[in-house]
Homo-oligomer: 357 residues x 4
């Protein structure tokens, strides 16, 4: 159950403080040049220590491919990869061995497995998302070839929220600021806000908006495995995510049908929709318009404050503030959202291919 | 790709105006008494014609089991079932043969398959959810035995929204009103609102809240197949759903960590949480608290008004108002939400069983 | 676990003496004309009562499609189907309720499920293979379009075995005799032999040879899901099958490498092999040559003799001879072998399509 | 498609001459002590250079676990592992770049992927079975705890075949000779035979017999995923395997039902069978008796002789004898057969657990 996808799959492994995070990408099309610089760059977008508003931990996070690549190109066979863990101060976590941190997975792991690697959250650590970024970068290499683009940005941090939709902003702006917001002024406010939250030993949540353009019409399955259900499942699989909506989303619940129907039009022999409340997907299948969606992240559970909790015997204890955690995961989660979306779209592209005789 | 689940699965088949809707439930535990009255009652909650605020179509929707049941009990073998379609006025749909209705799946089916059964939406019709209600009812029979309860209610219709969370209302009230809202006064307002929307030839969206109680701690998978990801995927697979959130959901994006951490406590040797912002799931695995979630539905796309659109050649046409559609799907979608949730929980219960040596 | 296939799947349901045998075929390509006459003819080849050497039970076995077909063509949506059970003398089986027949699945079902439908073997009855013949016939309709042919014949009955390989015989002869052997003289001997075995209240095993021609090079997976592993698994899933071999098979165990290497040659720009000991598959992937394989069937376990066994309490009992069983399943299993092979080949064809960008 | 199993799965990766062979084992039960000595010993049984009758290549094949093990025990999370490739003389294979070796996967890989890693067979190399031995060793650690034993031996090499079934021989003898045959005298003959074949630059096939004892009754699925179908598929996935049979196997095809029915008996309240022609599986489900099966291996395709073939343009060429290959793979395939069997049995054990409420 550590695998995602149908025809393009990632099986991930690794704990925060074990020897490595890694995975196997299966179903990668053959003959794709492996642009190592691009892949590493994707990992660097996720890496700690990029700016003052994320965790200062130093991890180089270099990916090493072990198979499936020959003479610089994919061979179609599974791509095994590892990213070695460094900076493992395991003893830093000795205080977590015998207690359950609130709103973490310590207690539920113990219930499920009867044991757990307590160091840094073990398998439940967001460090596992490195594997997803590697697989997502590989998927993006194929999507690029197919003319499909996937991008995401921070659209809300706490109370601060971008008012417009994705077409209102300049995509080129996103990587220019530490918070990955496409509006420079809002980015400044968000950064200041995160800095203040951090200084108070607190954390804050937010929303990431994702966009996929260039998707051909006809990708998706009509009943249980709708394209947006796959996207939703992928996003809900990211650490700290509490909600997913696409197209008109929760706002659609307030609307009348007469307000949000997407009228079809024909331009130069191509059928398009005048509006896109549907979010590029109708009946679970892409219609050729942009797909866009929003992902809600809760605030990080680890605070730089003393926290009440219980030990594994149920006795009340106080967990002392310690560690180097992100006050807000949004900036570093943007590439993870993109990676998951890229994997899903490529997977569904391959599924659609399969039935063309 | 018309199958949901890992160990408890439903494979559904059927089109709105074909001979039947049906499915195969595989992985049903053996020896469970098949309470036919209960199952039919679940289907009746989904059936058209229950009240003045849903479609007046007359469909009896009787389920017929074809296998997997012997002498009144399940045998552990797959349960095939059918619900015969009645009331099929196929010629009513001749006007849809050559055009694409806005915000329906007509165009995307054509793109995916190169053909489609245009009658009543064919496979994309919400009539397919009958199969889910049958499977969900079977799952509920097992969950009842395990002490797990699944229930849902309409918490928002258009602008009208219940202010409190699920603990604020009386579950017994839900089935007493046509809109399936647990607050009698709000139910009256919602019904009046839906009646007005209907009289204007329009439709309206809303939100359904779902609750699962009695879930043992330890169900779920930690990475891609998190318990809430499976729930989300299941909900996003219901017709007209545009969003899913659980626990604090999108509201969590506005919050500080210090506000929403769920402090652990110990009572009589059982570890619980003081609050439940997590929504009963931490790190993708149940923690024994109530699971609760919200599902956003867009307004029905079929209006009782003339609608502009294009024919299959791309020429502009006007689709004349016609038919007997729901002004608001929420009341009839409540049992579908429950059914999907019940299937997911049973599936994950079986998954958790498998690894206990 | 009642589903076979990856992209072209059959989920089957039904017990011998329940209301119906049926299934859902998912992944059927759209736009294929559904040749009902052909499909029924495939079922008729499996049907009891065809000749004096098979069971005289009368079952009409008419298939009824419930979905996925519109205006005579497949739509790409799942095809639900049923074959109603007739001739159900359930009380005939009252003597089996409290005992376990030797070499049947009575005891193992009880161990697995804690209960069983004892009538005619319930789910373990070979009557379930009707569902496979329907799915296989649908697959054949697609394969025909792709220029791929699947055929099989009885090559051994008890001690009587055809000496040559599949190229030695006239395929057109197969359906001309009751035993489905491509050599008329051997067919006569086999029929006489089966008649004698039957008159003695006994049963006999045999071997079916299968051939698949016109398969393009490149179908298959290189490691666990090798094309021949999928074929083997499919064949071993047929009732009474005890062995599977392809190409040189068990005979290859006796050979030297120098005897059985298939030398490549080039003819008109097409690479072929001079011999075909490999059986059309190398490294798990088709090489464009004919695929051929052999499937071993044990003798039917139900004899027309009194049989010693135990009741469900473990007490020795004698089961009285009774019923109308096949003295040899081979003739009726030939279409089942073909059906399974057709499903596997189509499934792998779709898999191969998926990765062509 | 490089994954095997349902609940206990192995996803393998790696090419013969890439950086490493490795994999991810998912579904490993938690809390199992990881006996590294045992695991390495299993790898050593597969390793080249063990004796004069196998390839003299020197590979140390040390496994390195990267996750899923904490403080010496499994944690229930996926176990990633690598075995680094050494001794990679990639340039040794330059002569294979532009030609297709007979009866290897060179040509079929090219057809499937449009490219290939030509060095030592790339992904199709039997070196990939290292990953299976690691996963199989982990499975055996669990099976040992459950009282289930899996073992195998060489029962035929070319014309030399052990006459008796597995109960006729001394299991303790197997690891005492280089050929892994449980009869010391036959082992001597087989070794001499292989030595002679080797001296002639030739290779030879054979048969491995596998046995699984201590399996509880009730493991298996009744229709497509029969326990023996899963075993067969696993065995047919091993390099060079051409056939699989279990219980009476192909010999059953010659038999009368009256000869091979397994009469039930009751001893001390436990139901057993007097004979075991069924091979421990009835109707696809284990009956508590020993499971036994036979696996046919063709001779290795690489000869130490000049071989005619074609280049990638289809021109005839002669491939010069070269390399260090096994004259007979049987001795080194014995642990691979055991590994695959162990994985399948554990997987089905977990499946059976899942439905016990």
């Amino acid at each position: 159950m550590n695998t995602i996808g149908n025809l393009f799959t990632l099986t991930s492994f690794g704990e925060s403080h074990g020897p490595a995070i890694g995975g196997v990408v299966d179903g990668m099309p053959a003959g794709i040049p492996v642009d190592m610089e691009f892949i590493q760059q994707e990992l660097d977008r996720r890496r700690p220590g990029q700016s003052s508003i994320v965790t200062p931990r130093k991890e180089s996070d270099r990916v090493e491919f072990l198979s499936g690549v020959f003479e610089g190109k994919t061979t179609g066979t599974p791509i095994g990869f590892v990213v070695w863990n460094e900076n493992q101060h395991s003893s830093d976590y000795d205080n977590l061995r015998d207690l359950y941190r609130p709103s973490h997975a310590d207690y539920t792991y113990q219930c499920k497995y009867g044991c757990r690697d307590h160091r840094g959250g073990g398998r439940s650590s967001a460090r596992e998302t490195i594997a997803r970024c590697v697989a997502g970068a590989l998927a993006k290499l194929v999507l690029r070839y197919l003319g499909i683009e996937v991008w995401a940005y921070t659209s809300q941090v706490g109370e601060l929220s971008l008012p417009g939709d994705y077409r209102s902003y300049d995509r080129a702006e996103i990587e220019k600021n530490a918070v990955r917001c496409p509006d420079a002024e809002m980015a400044r406010q968000m950064e200041a806000y995160i800095a203040r939250v951090k200084s108070e030993g607190d954390t804050v949540g937010g929303v990431i908006t994702g966009v996929i353009s260039g998707v051909p019409a006809g990708l998706g399955e009509p009943v249980f495995n709708k394209l947006h259900a796959a996207l939703g499942s992928a996003m809900l699989g990211i650490n700290a995510v509490k909600g997913f909506e696409y197209g008109m989303g929760f706002a659609g619940a307030r609307c009348r049908g007469s307000q949000v129907n997407d009228v079809f039009e024909s331009h130069d022999g191509r059928i398009t929709t005048r509006t896109n409340y549907s979010g590029g997907i109708q009946g679970g299948i892409s219609n050729g318009e942009d797909i866009y969606f929003r992902v809600a992240f809760k605030p990080v559970a680890t605070l730089l404050r003393d926290i009440e909790t219980v030990d594994t015997q149920g006795n009340p204890v106080v967990l002392k503030a310690k560690g180097r955690h992100d006050p807000c995961v949004l900036p570093r989660a943007v590439p993870v959202v993109e990676a998951m979306a890229a994997m899903v779209i490529l997977d569904y592209y391959l599924l659609a291919q399969s039935h063309k005789l």
